[in-house]
């Protein structure tokens, strides 16, 4: 077989089980693609030795007839996941030299399911960003281009390295994390599938925390089926994470029938934003039509508090982050600033954190500190929490009316050029999350499915939002949309 790296998880799994290919062959194919793709800056730390060792072990397991879900499948791991003995820096200078002595639950479960780790993937620093430009490693680059224009485009963020790597076939799939859209937006920008599960579905243990009440790990894949396979391996109760839920993990792949007849799909009117590009509007409409053709019922719904979601998110997430990032103080691990004679503990903190954190992280730590401070807490943090409750209730009301899933655009535009947002007001960048943050605030599962191509030849995605814990049903609706959309475009190889 040739172009093994271009396979998805399902195809590769089937080929492995049939004996048409070995995991070592798959892994070597990916490793050589990764070696030739430095221009994408997707992998920030390559682990070929670990990959080949695990591939050989996987081949042995397959040979012995013991082939769990992800056995022998080469994937990339976002740098936010702590991986034992392998640099895990969350894209930040402050974790320079940090080698965890432990493995995150999700990456451990993937390894236990036989997955082969190829390396660590680029991301915005501490998952704070929508373009991958806040990474200490420099930004990842999208494999997509606007026709013959060689302007470098963002793969999105924060899971930009994951999206770029999957879209460019450097790996079969990758892990991502999503706090406000960090899986779904990059997936939409790169023509890949990105699923953010229900909050509590995947353990957060061992994943560097950004905003604990919003963070959730999920799969980034080449197809909906692959997302179903990979989620099955990532999900499950973990007693080490108090917010992880003790619920059985269904066989998500078995639920992919493509039959969505009689399902009610809600179209929230509040997601029709002023100044939204016509192409996005048209795509959204087409998506609804596709689901309708597949037998679903399309209903107009209202999620009245949607417009407060972005401001609430940009209070809650920085507030939690300001506290979560306090542990990076130069005392025990990671970067510590060189101190001048006479410097004390305060100077050590100040210099270490000034050197270790980039501008966007510093901005959010300051915003978070401010909104939690005495005298402002009620006006910002408490109010944001109330808004969050209302947003959650909006969704509950919609589901209570019999809506099975909600269809929205995934992003307000196609991928933009790297540096294009550089001069802009940070809020312009935050607007990228306008369709995705509500899902995190409400703790719901959401999936971005590539659905169309814009006039520049760039992929566009739609988002489906499901009921809590109903990822199976959501994946099946996404599967129907994927079938109907028939998105097959791939970026031309320029790197």
């Amino acid at each position: 077989m040739s172009d093994l790296n271009k396979l998805g998880l399902a195809e590769a799994r089937d080929a492995l089980r049939k004996g048409d290919v070995t995991s070592v062959e798959l892994t070597e194919a990916c490793l050589s693609e990764i070696e030739a793709a430095d221009a994408l800056n997707a992998f920030v730390h390559k682990t070929p030795e670990i990959a080949l060792e695990r591939a050989r072990a996987a081949d042995a397991r397959i040979g012995a007839g013991d082939a769990p879900a992800m056995c022998g499948l080469p994937i990339g791991i976002k740098d936010l996941f702590c991986t034992k003995g392998v640099p895990s820096q969350a894209g930040s200078r402050i974790l320079e030299g940090f080698l965890p002595e432990y493995e995150s639950t999700v990456s451990q479960q993937l390894a236990d399911a036989g997955a082969v780790m190829l390396g660590k993937l680029n991301m915005d620093e501490f998952a704070m960003g929508s373009s991958n430009e806040t990474s200490v490693y420099g930004n990842a680059v999208s494999p997509w281009r606007r026709g013959n224009d060689d302007t470098q485009l963002t793969p999105g963020g924060s899971s930009g390295g994951s999206a770029a790597a999957v879209a460019a076939d450097l790996c079969l799939a990758a892990t991502g994390t999503d706090t406000g859209g960090s899986i779904r937006q990059p997936a939409a920008f790169t023509g890949t599938v990105g699923l953010k599960p229900t909050y509590g579905r995947c353990s957060r243990w061992g994943i560097v925390a950004f905003a604990s009440s919003l963070d959730q790990a999920g799969p980034m894949t080449k197809s909906v089926r692959d997302a179903a396979i990979m989620l099955g391996a990532m999900a499950g109760h973990d007693p080490r994470d108090s917010t992880s839920v003790d619920l059985a993990v269904p066989d998500f792949e078995a639920l992919l029938t493509g039959d969505i007849r009689g399902k009610r799909i809600g179209i929230p009117k509040e997601y029709r934003m002023d100044g939204m590009p016509e192409e996005i509007e048209a795509l959204w409409h087409e998506g609804a039509e596709m689901l309708k053709s597949a037998g679903a019922e399309i209903v107009d719904i209202s999620l009245p508090h949607t417009r407060y979601a972005l401001p609430a998110y940009y209070v809650i997430a920085p507030a939690e982050a300001s506290s979560n990032l306090a542990r990076y103080d130069g005392v025990r691990y990671g970067h510590r600033a060189t101190l001048a004679h006479g410097d004390g503990i305060t100077e050590m903190y100040e210099k270490t954190r000034a050197e270790g954190f980039g501008a966007e992280v510093q901005r959010r730590v300051m915003v978070g500190t401010y909104v939690l401070s005495a005298g402002f807490y009620d006006a910002y943090y408490n109010r944001a929490r109330k808004v969050r409750t209302l947003i959650k209730k909006d969704f509950e009301d919609a589901f209570a009316q019999g809506v099975d899933a909600i269809l929205t655009p995934a992003t307000p535009s196609a991928a933009f050029g790297l540096g294009e947002m550089g001069q802009a007001d940070p809020v312009q960048m935050y607007l990228n999350d306008v369709f995705t943050v509500t899902v995190n605030l409400a703790g719901l599962p959401g999936i971005a499915v590539p659905t169309g191509i814009d006039h520049q030849g760039l992929p566009l995605g739609l988002q489906l939002i499901g009921r809590p814990w109903e990822e199976g049903d959501l994946l099946n609706t996404a599967y129907a949309l994927e079938q109907a959309a028939g998105f097959v475009a791939k970026p031309g190889k320029w790197w």
């Binding site: 974790l95 994470d241 306090a326 542990r327 025990r332």
Partner: protein, 503 residues
Amino acid sequence: MLDLTFEPPKPKVIAGAKHDWELVIGMEVHAQVSSRAKLFSGASTTFGAEPNSNVSFVDAAMPGMLPVINEFCVEQAVRTGLGLKAAINLVSAFDRKNYFYPDLPQGYQISQLYHPIVGEGEVLVELGEGIARMVRIERIHLEQDAGKSIHDMDPNMSFVDLNRTGVALMEIVSRPDIRGPEEAAAYIAKLRQILRYLGTCDGNMQNGNLRADVNVSVCRPGEYEKYWETQDFSHLGTRCEIKNMNSMRFIQQAIEVEARRQIALLEAGGEVVQETRLYDPDKGETRSMRSKEEAHDYRYFPDPDLLPLEIEQTWVDEIAAALPELPDARKARYMSDFGLTDYDASVLTAEVETAAYFEAVAQGRDGKLAANWVINELFGRLKKEDHDITSSPVDPAQLGGIIDLISRGDISGKIAKDLFEIVYTEGGDPAEIVEARGMKQVTDTGAIEAAVDQVIADNPAQVEKAKANPKLAGWFVGQVMKATGGKANPKAVNDIVQAKLGL
């Protein structure tokens, strides 16, 4: 249980240069929860371990680590709440208190600001027979302890020991119901006693397992009563908080010193500034640690890593049903069942180990006699050698054996003391010792009669005197006792002497 009627003590009054002042004191007691593992990690809590050996990834706040509540610590907090007759909150929640310090790896302490696990309760603090103060408890919350920073090991560096980081503490917050230094010490002692009875804190103040922040203010006589009627704090003076006290003696000194400082300040026309202070026992003064302006803004917010803590009423009921007998109840029982005095009952119930020892001795025996032996003989002897009850060389069965020998009339009180000394220093079964060493009291009247006859025959002159003056019969008793090596039953000797002398 006996209903203890009591009167409140008089508040401490300090005479200033101009007029009298009263003290108002509230306490925040930090009690380390007796638990083998920390509040949110499985790391050990053993005291005195090698620095940084009881530290998990969670305690060291490694990236991606998450807290998981230790159910046993929750149970201990509930048990403590029940022991202080407090309301148990079935739903409580954890908040983060944010500040930077090297011995606080997370950069925040997980505590319970908004929704503590235990609500209002009370502690009866006795200050003498019939005199007691009912101190109201405002709340008890669970929180993590910090580690230890060591600044004096190196001129250029500080060291951090994280062994204590994350150990569970209960912060027990009182209302400002304490009215003097002695009351403050008595309050801590009573709290410590209850916690030790409950087994929820070992009360070891030296190791810092029980320590207090003391809030002190002063007011003019009469103002406190206005506060009491209205619960309006504006009637009270501005308070200062003296941090981290772990000695009863220093707590009393610090309160006195701080109150006098405030009085001097107020009488000179100044104002007390609300602030945190430290007591320096060497100089006998309190010093400002940080003023209100420098006070940290802790940016409390609900910890998103932890779900609200929900417990079942049935579980609380189970804990309540298994609650041990507490000091007040036990003391009342000792007074009613054993007929002990208030003082003896207090002494015996002061420490849970002492009470257990006493009960083992008193079981099936005369309670008063048992109390006398435990308090007078045993305690006295233990004190001489700086032992405490847990290291007593005489166990309750041995002491009980001695008492049994007395009760049966086998030995006299005097012999019993000798026997106690032998058991104390050499060990062994008291009955066997008495048998083996011939210490048994002679009750055989024949033998005693023979001894009396002998003494009478040897001392005809004394016999004549005694017949004239019956008080001299005692001399004969003494002679007989001497002749029998003290083993004769003194009452039997006395009876026979009287009869033979025809008195």
